[in-house]
């Protein structure tokens, strides 16, 4: 028993991820943490999306279930669990049953390599990004098999369309990622890395986020990836397969109840996964803003207070809205609920101020703040953009993103290697 405790403590102060340190126990703990964190994120993402979209559209969004609709996602989850799970008559039962699992599997395994902090990743795989792109292409399989298994005309067409869209945008995504990796190889040793933590380290070493590196190229690469990422997850302007009027509801029409919620879960976690790739590659993963410029422990302290401040701010909002809750006896439970929720947030905020917790949490906080920014972007797209027609969607994918990606690749290489290149030219021309 003793060596087990030793085994557990052995990892606590090591500066490597549990996977890399081979510590199975902590790796499983991290995996569970990611699972719980992800489902909580998906639940609040569901609430946030409905609320923000509503407020964008001059309406209030769910208000009835719990204070300000806070219990709405839970109500949805229970509804989906209780709903009857229909399998269409001659549908291919085995494939019908397997398809959602493939999609969820693809969406979740991406998080094995996502670095929430210097040591907060399940494992520091040497081929981090390659693994991520590979697994995210697996979700296409799930969608195609789902469309096929529903054994009816429209879901099959929807599935083929959405998989064609995902495959063509994966290419653009890959190109943008390669240009980011090239940027990471511009550091002093001259050898870039595929591992996610390595890239964030490179950004810290080179003193600037890759989005600002080589001024126009970084932003263009980020732009290409941002568009491709939205298309990859079938969201907003590219959500053609499921929302087009003549294609009813795309590949998951025949699914209902729990299986449909699996697809729902997979869609949101794919969104979070893809935006976390973007954050790691271009926005400096868990680095706090201006890591090199504002160094020194005062700034360290200031930036580490941020998590606590945000939670207290949220608690303040809850208390403010409890105060404004109408005094009618009917609303008593709701006010108590909201007050309790606000108090819980306040307590978390305070805990976050304690020094030992603060240091560990600051990385995770900055990473998730950036990912939250992306989530807001997704919702904003959904509110404003109409839908692309399928041929236009393909045109943008192949005729716009692909060429820009290729040009990007060449330009980053040229700009990156300009010193060696100049030396070569001089050498060949015997200047």
């Amino acid at each position: 028993m003793h060596d087990l405790i030793l085994y557990i403590q052995s990892y606590l102060d090591s500066d490597r991820t549990p996977g890399a340190a081979g510590n199975i126990f902590w790796a499983t703990v991290y995996i569970l943490l990611v699972f719980v964190g992800l489902s909580v994120a998906v639940i609040c993402m569901n609430w946030l999306e409905r609320k923000i979209l509503a407020h964008m559209q001059v309406r209030l969004g769910p208000m009835r279930v719990g204070p300000h609709g806070l219990l709405q996602p839970i109500a949805d989850a229970i509804k989906l669990l209780l709903k009857e799970d229909i399998i269409p008559a001659e549908a291919d039962a085995v494939v019908f049953w397997v398809a959602p699992f493939i999609v969820v599997l693809a969406a979740f395994t991406v998080f094995v390599v996502v670095p929430f902090g210097r040591t907060h990743a399940i494992t520091d795989m040497n081929i981090g990004i390659l693994f991520m792109l590979g697994v995210s292409s697996l979700s296409v399989l799930g969608i195609v098999t789902a469309g096929w298994a529903s054994n009816s005309h429209y879901p099959l067409m929807g599935a083929l369309r959405s998989s064609a869209q995902m495959v063509s945008y994966e290419v653009a995504m890959g190109l943008a990622v390669v240009s980011a990796i090239m940027m990471s190889s511009m550091n002093v040793e001259g050898t870039g890395t595929l591992s996610m933590i390595g890239i964030v380290e490179a950004q810290k070493a080179q003193g600037e986020w890759f989005i600002f590196k080589f001024f126009p190229l970084g932003i263009i690469a980020f732009g290409v990836f941002a568009i491709a990422m939205v298309a990859e997850t079938n969201r907003a302007p590219f959500d053609l397969p499921e929302a087009e009027s003549e294609l009813t509801a795309g590949f998951h029409t025949e699914y209902s109840g729990f299986r449909w919620s699996l697809f729902f879960l997979a869609e949101y976690s794919a969104m979070i996964a893809v935006s976390s790739i973007a954050v790691t590659l271009w926005l400096g993963g868990w680095l706090r803003p201006f890591p090199n410029a504002l160094t020194g422990d005062i700034w360290e302290l200031v930036f580490s207070l941020f998590p606590g401040i945000t939670f207290l701010f949220l608690a303040g909002m809850c208390f403010y809205s409890t105060a404004r809750m109408p005094k009618h006896p009917l609303f008593k439970i709701q006010t108590m609920g909201l007050g309790g929720f606000g108090a819980a947030l306040a307590v978390i905020g305070l805990i976050l101020f304690l020094p030992p917790v603060r240091v560990r949490v600051v990385d995770i906080y900055w990473f998730s703040a950036k990912v939250a920014g992306f989530m807001y972007l997704y919702i904003w797209y959904r509110g404003t953009f109409p839908r692309y027609r399928f041929d236009q969607l393909m045109k943008v994918g192949w005729k716009v993103l692909l060429p820009t990606g290729l040009a990007l690749l060449i330009l980053t290489a040229l700009v990156g290697m300009r010193t060696e290149l100049w030396a070569d030219i001089q050498e060949t021309l015997h200047l």
Partner: protein
């Protein structure tokens, strides 16, 4: 564009055409379809995604309004008129009352005409707002729907305050108005005009320069001026094809002549031009309402009209500019209290005929966009 006069009928009943043998696919956008604005069934002949030709099957909402008219007195038929184009009920009422007044050779008093103009232009605004909301929804933009319906609610409140009903208002009577304008009427209308003016800029902000909106609407459902006139298309669809014609200017009625407003026209008659024309029309309506509210004269609101109307034998045709196009009434009277024959010339019915010409060569997704821009209301198409 193929010459519309030589449209070949769809050979649907050829038995040998199996489902997939020729690469020509016949699919059926059925009566209950989210994007057909009511019970319209469109039979599409497709080659893959491209539309080869289409045929509209209508009549699902046919209530035989013209047959009923022959068994009702003139005043009793008035409410039926609102049920035809239920989105722009006030303009239907205006057209009918003016036609019968012409038959009776009676002129509504100026105060009544001013209030009528205000209510009709408000109704045009409401109809265009409903069109914009549902049209944007068909193409995929969810938000405009909520903006337009929030503003349309203001108009419906004014209608409700004035005549008790929001949609099928039955606001007018033959010879003038039934109700005097309630005392806060001018103030409400003024507030409404100032409230909505910035809101239209909000719609424009959301859509006009939206890249995806441009891509989905530019060059879609093109119809040239010549074809439009040949197909008898009227209203914003005709103006978007470059023909500068509006009955309010060409054959003025209900003293539109003493309000100044422009008629917007588009250049190449595609969905985007129709969108722009209707947005400008909304602004012009606001101008008309503002001028009308300023100049409401005092005086009676009802002309001297006999209780039981027996118009002299004869027939007349009178048409007004409804939000969808030229809405005309051809009334034949045989001297009795009941009209011998009332023929309604519905703009949506005739505009819908142009759908086939506009959708040839487009993609399936565009058919929905084109149905949206035609702004058809099935109550009026089927009568």
């Amino acid at each position: 564009m193929t010459d519309p006069n030589t449209l070949s009928p769809l050979d649907l009943d050829t038995p040998d055409k199996t489902f997939l043998d020729a690469n020509e696919l016949v699919i059926n956008m059925g009566p209950q379809h989210p994007a057909t604005h009511g019970v319209l069934r469109v039979i599409l002949r497709l080659d893959g995604e491209k539309v080869l030709g289409l045929e509209c099957v209508i009549g699902y909402l046919h209530r035989g309004v013209e047959k009923i008219a022959e068994n009702r007195t003139y005043t009793m038929f008035n409410p039926y008129v609102d049920r035809m184009d239920y989105v722009a009920a006030v303009s239907n009422g205006l057209g009918y009352c003016e036609a019968v007044e012409k038959l009776l050779n009676v002129e509504a008093p100026p105060r009544a005409q001013y209030i009528r103009v205000i209510l009709t232009e408000l109704n045009r605004m409401a109809s265009h707002q409903l069109w914009l909301g549902t049209h944007a929804l068909d193409i995929g933009a969810i938000t405009p729907l909520f903006y337009t319906f929030r503003d349309r609610e203001e108009i419906l409140k004014i209608f409700e305050k004035y005549c008790g009903a929001r949609l099928t208002t039955h606001a007018f009577r033959i010879g003038g108005l039934q109700y005097e304008a309630y005392e806060g009427f001018e103030k409400d209308v003024k507030n409404f005009v100032s409230f909505v003016k910035p809101k239209i800029d909000e719609y424009e902000e959301l859509l006009t320069t939206n890249r995806i909106w441009l891509e989905r609407t530019k060059g879609v459902g093109v119809i040239s001026g010549k074809d439009a006139i040949a197909l008898g298309v009227t209203g914003p669809v005709l103006r978007a094809s470059g023909v500068k014609w509006d009955i309010r200017k060409a054959l003025p009625y209900a003293n539109y002549k003493n309000f100044d407003f422009e008629i917007p026209t588009g250049a190449n008659g595609d969905t985007y031009d129709r969108y722009i024309v209707r947005m400008v029309e909304m602004r012009q309506s606001l101008r008309i309402i503002a001028q009308a509210v300023e100049g409401i004269p005092e005086g009676p609101i009802m002309a001297k009209v006999p209780k039981v109307m027996k118009p002299p034998v004869g027939e007349i045709y009178h048409s007004i500019e409804a939000p969808k196009g030229e809405l005309g009434y051809f009334i034949v009277s045989d001297g009795s209290t009941q009209p011998y024959r009332i023929r309604v010339r519905p703009p949506s019915f005739v505009n819908l005929q142009a759908l086939d010409v506009m959708c040839r060569g487009q993609l399936v997704a565009d058919v929905i966009a084109v149905i949206g821009t035609l702004d058809i209301v099935l109550g009026e198409v089927d009568r």
